[in-house]
Amino acid sequence: MDPTLEEVYSLVLTQWPLVAGAYALLWTGLIVYVGLALKRLNGLGRQVEVLEAAIARRSGAE
């Protein structure tokens, strides 16, 4: 690469790690938060089904 261009790049790209860090934190934070919420929601949905089935069985037996 042209050494002058290389020098220009080295001077103007100093903000890039911070920009990349900001986007990484933002997306990771949102994806992890939503992912965990969905996982918990699915787990709870399964629990509800099991419990409601148990209630229905008991109601039928009575």
């Binding site: 261009l5 220009v8 103007v12 938060y33 939503v34 929601l41 629990q47 509800v48 008991r58």
Partner: protein
């Protein structure tokens, strides 16, 4: 319940698509404004090339920043033209160094300078940190919106004493905390990129930091009170009082001098504006989806408790 979950999932998918679109627009469509310039000794063709520069310098130590630059130097009553090879507080060395490795560096003069004119090229410095703004601002806006929602449900709880409103206020505060944290993290990185410091006690940052502490304080308060009724009442009152800081933080940059940028009408080029608006809509949808997901989770927990009670009878 299922309808709420479906709405949440639709909002999540739409919000995800829009924020992804805004992300692509931000990096591949919207331009990058220049933020000052950088100087180099050589010249190369680049879209950022602004032109040559010439600067007068009176002290040798400042010339240390211009090693390799073309210079005309007046020293000891004589004029010398060449490149700055070396400079410190007391002397300057001017030579024929072309800047190329291995090229001869014959010294023309070693002297104390009285004045020097250095020449080189100036290139626009792209403000890459501005890319953070496309998502930092929408995330901050959502934090204010959801905080307002928490205060609204706080008022509703005080008026009606219905447990549902306390739950809604708590979930709103939780979503506020998420968005406040994201705002703080992206903001700190922007501050470092734009101002060169990690933090500055200026009006917007200070009032937003207070808002962050108040949101954390809300959960500390909830955990400190055992009685459910009193906990809900205190939390509702606290969320209303804490919300006073939100409009202060939002409008403070327009009311008193602040270093924090303010978006002005017509201040963005169309590609930047479109990407920014799409990011805002996407974030609103994501905020709504997160709130609905958490509400769905809480309602499911209630159903489980209810089902367990029925089974235990």
């Amino acid at each position: 319940m299922k309808l709420a979950s479906t709405r949440a999932l639709v909002a999540l998918v739409l919000g995800g698509v829009l924020t992804l679109g805004a992300f692509l627009g931000t990096f591949f469509w919207a331009g990058v404004p220049d933020f000052g310039f950088v100087r180099v000794a050589g010249h190369t063709d680049s879209v950022r090339y602004q032109g040559p520069f010439e600067q007068k310098i009176d002290e040798a130590r400042y010339l240390a920043n211009y090693v390799g630059y073309e210079a005309e130097i007046e020293a000891d009553g004589e004029s010398y033209a060449g490149r700055v090879v070396e400079a410190d507080e007391s002397r300057v060395v001017v030579g024929t160094d072309t800047g190329d490795a291995g090229a001869p560096k014959d010294t023309i003069a070693v002297a104390d300078i009285t004045s020097a004119v250095v020449r080189g090229s100036e290139y626009g410095r792209p403000d890459w940190g501005q890319k953070i703004f496309y998502f930092h601002v929408p995330v901050a806006e959502i934090s204010f919106l959801v905080f307002a929602l928490a205060a609204f449900y706080g008022i509703r709880f005080i008026m009606t004493r219905k447990r549902e409103f306390d739950t809604r206020a708590r979930i709103s505060m939780e979503v506020t905390l998420t968005f406040v944290s994201l705002t703080m993290m992206t903001g700190i990185l922007w501050t470092r990129a734009a101002w060169g410091v990690w933090w500055e006690w200026e009006p917007r940052l200070t009032t937003y930091f207070i808002m962050t502490l108040l949101v954390i304080g809300y959960f500390v308060l909830r955990n400190a009170v055992e009685d459910e009724e009193r906990r809900a009442l205190y939390a509702a009152a606290f969320s209303i009082l804490a919300f006073i800081d939100a409009p202060i933080s939002f409008f403070i940059t327009r009311l008193i001098p602040s270093n924090h940028p303010v978006i002005e009408r017509g201040g963005l080029e169309p590609p930047m504006l479109v990407s920014f608006i799409v990011a805002q809509i996407g974030m609103i949808l994501l905020g709504y989806a997160i709130y609905q997901l958490r509400m769905g989770e809480t309602m499911l927990k209630d159903r489980i408790e209810h089902a367990k009670t029925l089974l235990e009878r």
